[in-house]
Every structure is written in C-alpha cells, then in structure tokens.
Symmetry: C2
Subunit: 400 residues, 2 copies
C-alpha cells in the first residue's frame, strides 16, 4: 500500500471556488473540428461557470468557451502550424498559471504530465485529468516519478497500466444535457462515428452490418496517417446502398445521424480510455453494440443500454436483438451518468476534497540524499533499481 | 531602460557555496565525442570543486565529471536513442533540482529556457548560461516572456538579437590550463578543426590555403545532415598533398594537431556564439585567422593573437603575415582570459552577486490581471501587442 498523500483536516473553504482550468494548446477550446480533450474542457468550464464558480480557462486565444479566458498562445497550435513550438509555449502557459497560483483555490490541468513538476512547487492544490491511453511504456518512468501528483482517470480501465499513481477518482466525460436530441426511434440503419483507423475496426463494423443484413452509415474523418488504411481496406467495401461513407460530420449533425440509427457499432480493438461517442449515442436514445475493450464495460450496461460482445457471431446476434433495448432507458442513463452537470458535480467534490486536505511533501521533509523519491518509485513493485534503470528513463540514481 | 530586478542588500553568505549545475541530457558530462556545452559544464564543475565549493552536477548517469553527480536519466539521450523523450526527462530532471532548491545557494542551468519557469517559483536564485545562437525568431517569444530571468552570455555578440533580456554578464568559455600543450612553433601547415558545414566555410579555408601555397589539414566530423555538402563541395577538393582530410579527432590529439600548425583558419560565415576552437589554438600558441562573425572580434586581438579579415585577399594576406604574431603571446592571452580557472572565477563572482541581491517578483505583487508581464514584454520595443501577437507565440492576452 502506498501512504496516502492527503488526510482531511478542518479548513475554511471559499465558495464559490476560484478555479484554473489548464487546456492543451493544440486545438482551441472548444475545438473547431475534432479534439476530444478540448471539447470536454469546454463543457466542464461552462458548467462550472453555470454553477457559480470563478473559472479562468488557460487556453489558446481563439478559444470561445463562455468563461474568462487567459490565452497563453495566440492561436491553436495545430491549425497555426506551430506544433513544433509546443514545449516552449507550454512552459510559458504553465508560468501564467503557476506564477499566480495564489489567486486560485484549485488548479485543474488537462495537459498530461506537464503540470506535475509545477504542482509540487506551489501551495495551491493541483489535480490533473489524464485524457489519453496510459499503456505507452516509454512514459511509465515520468508518470511513476510523479506518483505523488493527484490524478483523475476518465475510466477505471484507463488506470490498468499504472495502478500505483495517486488516483483520486474516476470521472466520466459529460455532454451538455440538451446538446443532443432524444429520438424515440426505432432507427433505420447501423451507425459508425469517429475516426477511420485500424484500432477502431470499421472493417468489422462493415462485416457485422453485412451479415445482419442492415445498411451501415459511416461518418468519420480520415487522418493523413490512416489514408492508406482507408484506401486499401475500407473504400473497396463501400457501396452506396449497403455501406455508405458520408465523411466527417459536425456537432450539429450528430443528433440526426445518431438519433436515426438503430444502433451505434463500436467494435474497437484498443484500450479506449473513455469513448465520447458512446455517451453521444445514448443521449439520442440509441443503443450501442461494442467490443469489451478499455472503458466499454464501464460505460455500457449489457442488455440495458446495448450489448457488449467479442466475436463476430455474438455481435451480429446483438444487432438482431437490439429491439429489446428501451431507447428511453438509454436516454435516462445518459442523463444520470454522462451529462456535463454530472461531470462538474464530480469534479467539484474532488476540488473540495483536495482543498480541505493538507499535502505531505515527502521530498521536502526528506533528510536523505536526493535519490529517495526516485528510487522509491523504482522499487515499489519489488524490482531492484539496477534491474529496471534502463527501462525507466527519468528515474535517478546518485553516485558520489 | 528596464527596471533592475536585483538590488544589493547585506546578507550572510555561505562559503563554500552549495552549487547545483544543471546540464543538458543529450550527451554525458563531459561528452564522449562532440558536445560543446557538456564539455564546458564539465570544466566549470571540476574547477568549482577544486576551489572548494560543494557542487552537485545534474546530468545523465554516464557522466564522469569529478564532482557529486545527481543523475536524472540513465544514459545520454543521443547515444541511447531516447532523444524523443527529451521533454519528459527534462521535466523530471528539473524536479530533482528545484524540489530541493533550499539545499543549494545557487542553481546554474545550462539548458536554454527550460529552467526559467522553475526559477520563478523558488527562493534560491537561478542563473542560466545561454550556450546557443539566439537569432532564431520563433524562440524570441519565449525568451522575452522570461525577460526577468538572470542570463549569462558566452560573448557580447551573442546578445545582439535579444538585448532586452536580463543579462547579468558575459563569461567566456575556459579550458583546463594544462589540457593543451604550448608549442613554440613555428608550425608547418594551416589547420581547420571542427565540423564540416556550410556556415563553417571549409571551402573558403581550402581556397585560402591554395592561394597562400601552404598545405591545409582538416580535422572535422561530418554530421548526417552535412554529408551531401561534404561529398559535393569538399571531397572533390581534397588531395593528399595540399589538402588533407583526417576526420574527427579526440581531445588528446588536439595538442599535436593545433600545436604543429602555422595558424588555425576559422573563416566562418555565421554568428558563432563563442568558438571553443579559437581558445584551443591559442592554448597551443597557434595564431588564429578568422572572419569577423559573432564572437570573433571579442576573442581575437587583431595583430596580437591572429588576424580578423573578411575578404579572401585579406585572409590570404594574413597567412603571409602570420610570422609577425608571437606564439608565446597567444599562450599568455589564453592563460589570462580563456582558462577554466578564469571562467570559474567569473561565475563565482556572479553567484555571490545574485545571492546577495533580493529578487523583485513583479508577477507576484502585481494586482493587475494576469496579462501584465506578457504584454509588458510585447510592448517593450514600441509595437502594439495586436501588431505582434502572431509573431510572438507564447505571449498572451486576456479577454473577459
């Protein structure tokens, strides 16, 4: 067991809270097109404002979320062709936040590990939501090195590669309640929505639809890296009658695209950390048929909001049974678990919890040589430091 | 005039000093082969130890400098193929330093702008030596944003693109006094030492030697990016009698290579921030013939330690006159200005100056909105923020 870094004490807490939200700089908040993290940060920020908090959103200057915005670079980096300056711009953005940390009650970061070193140096508590997949071994070192940092997962499944981090809670992403329209259905086609990429298995979606004898509509963007995959594996299987490809769609088109569908097919083959599209489908009352990877078994209630199945046969069988799912129930589950309001309430609770706790800073009180924290991280799963040193970039040793 | 960030007050100063030296992680300290910054950090560290200070060198674990070494990654990144993890490893390295900042009297960083945001958040004064060229417009934003950070230039000329930074002083690089052997000469050939690259003008060195009728020896490495240039422009002009190419040489071969030369040719065509090879030649008693770019007019005394000239004719003329330079004087100038001892004494003085000063932190006491510091940086040369915003990534604006 790791020692807890927080223990509750009585403390006077301001209400409303002064909250800093720290967004990535690669897309605007919300993003003009694709950009899951920036979209969720926008929803959370606006909901916290609605709840009366003083929120300062640190984001690119072209952000349009309805809150006070402190822009830390003039334009979203991807569109402006400035992505190669990400490191230097991110540092300046972090200075904007942490130089004035005493103006905030809580700092909530959404930029991976970048806030960790800064959070250690100021009094204001910092919490980071990890938005990406965590099974990238090269980065284990940096996450373990900062295993004192308070982190929030977007599904329990996301934590699997790094269970030893200081996980505060899981908070599911939420959408504004009225953003997508409930459709009583029953729907006429199967839908595939998102990115064309091998791990999203659009090929399997096509095969499921073909065997079930129901038309499939694919609304998806094709990134440059996936162009070859699209041309060789997907395009040859598109025909206007049974498998229709309609390209990328905007937020305002989703109600119709998802609401008119019999079911959303989500036959993924990777550890999806959350999967916003599943909650979008439920918001429209549309059941989801998905493979049990990553967050899927947490998001879906098998037999209630859709079906979770692995094999092609079982997935086809699920399509045949989809009329047994009550679309009204899908919408109700969305309203209970996956709205921006539910998300903001969860984060609010976490903010109060962290503010009321006193932080222990082991590296400050530690009288030992500097290596202590780093080697503690190294040996925590029983391996000897020297065995794992080369597998653990970012971790340290001392020699005289 | 910018307001001074430091003003002297009386304060009790420890002696010896507890000094943190923060090296780049890309090469070991000292580097196994090429790596100017890491080599200078090694010389400085060892000289400060010799002077009795408690130095902790933060560097890759394969570093061998004779001091206490706090390794922040298991191996030099370039050799280990880990350069793509530079950002995350650098952050962990900076935490190693700044989490325990109160164990040091001064933190001396050699990793460009990376220490700037951390230096603001701790009490211990931080100073950064800028080792690279500063005429990269894309990075002006980040340097100006941190124009409160104490920085040291390695030549006055290096400052030209960013005179508005908080320059504390210029400190020339130094070599251990006995590392290279004085040779009374007079020398038999012209020498070219360093990298084969267009801006180093090896082609011009060949032309100077050909016209002067004196053989040229080229000891240089060829980076992958310069392979084409070498094959097309340089290799065709190599012949074993008049222009000899001997490849990359090690530290222990420099005394002989430079000491046996009549003069070092340094006909560069770029803003060289320092040019270690010039001081290496002087250490051997070998005069330098150079073009007046970057640091050259500061390092060389025209007519005393060599000649500074622009045109081919004047450079050839300088070769004919080189016997008028006293080799003993070259060595004396080296011993006075370019030893590791001289460098360490200069840095020691800067450390005491920064430790005895009280820092003013404008962004802390500032009651205005967060934009103040950033916009101050933007408008300091008279331009309106909006005119320059897109030219100034990393700088900020506020909107309600």
């Amino acid at each position: 067991m790791r020692p807890p870094h927080f223990h509750p004490i009585r403390k006077k807490i301001r209400n409303p809270l002064r909250i800093a939200q720290v967004a990535p700089l690669y897309e605007s908040v919300p993003p003009k097109l694709y950009g899951g993290t920036e979209r969720v940060v926008a929803y959370l920020t606006e909901e916290l404002v609605r709840r009366g908090h003083e929120v300062t959103l640190f984001a690119s200057a072209d952000s349009t979320a309805k809150s006070k915005i402190q822009s830390t670079c003039p334009a979203a980096l991807r569109e402006a062709g400035l992505a190669h300056l990400g490191a230097s711009l991110q540092l300046a953005a972090l200075s904007e936040v942490f130089d004035r940390s005493d103006r905030f009650d809580i700092i909530h970061s959404h930029i991976d590990y970048w806030s960790f070193p800064f959070g250690r140096l100021v009094e204001t508590p910092t919490v980071t939501t990890l938005h990406g997949r965590l099974d990238i071994e090269e980065l284990f070192g940096i996450y373990r090195y900062y295993s004192d940092a308070s982190v929030v997962s977007i599904s329990d499944a996301q934590r699997a590669p790094l269970p030893e981090l200081n996980w505060v809670d899981t908070v599911y992403h939420g959408l504004p309640k009225e953003q997508l329209r409930f459709n009583p259905g029953p729907g006429k086609y199967l839908a595939f929505l998102g990115r064309i990429a091998p791990e999203k298995r659009p090929d399997l979606a096509i095969e499921i639809a073909r065997r079930a004898g129901i038309p499939l509509k694919i609304a998806a963007k094709v990134d440059v890296v996936d162009r070859d995959y699209f041309e060789s594996e997907i395009r040859p299987r598109i025909d206007s009658r049974n498998v229709e490809f309609i390209g990328e769609i905007g937020e305002h088109e989703k109600s119709e695209f998802l609401g008119d569908a019999l079911a959303l097919l989500f036959p993924i083959d990777w550890p999806e950390p959350f999967g916003l599209v599943m909650s979008e489908a439920l918001a429209c009352g549309t059941p989801v048929i998905a493979r049990p990877c990553g967050s899927v078994p947490e998001i879906l209630d098998h037999g209630v909001t859709g079906f979770v199945a692995s094999s092609l046969d079982d997935l086809v069988h699920a399509v045949h049974n989809v009329s047994s799912i009550a679309r009204r129930t899908c919408r109700e589950v969305f309203e209970t678990r996956f709205t921006a309001g539910a998300m903001a309430a969860n984060y609010e609770r976490i903010y109060y919890q962290l503010i009321s706790a006193d932080r222990v800073r082991p590296w400050r009180s530690d009288p030992e040589p500097l290596r202590t924290l780093a080697e503690a991280a190294l040996v925590q799963d029983g391996a000897q430091p020297q065995d794992r040193l080369l597998a653990q970039p970012g971790l340290t040793s001392v020699r005289p």
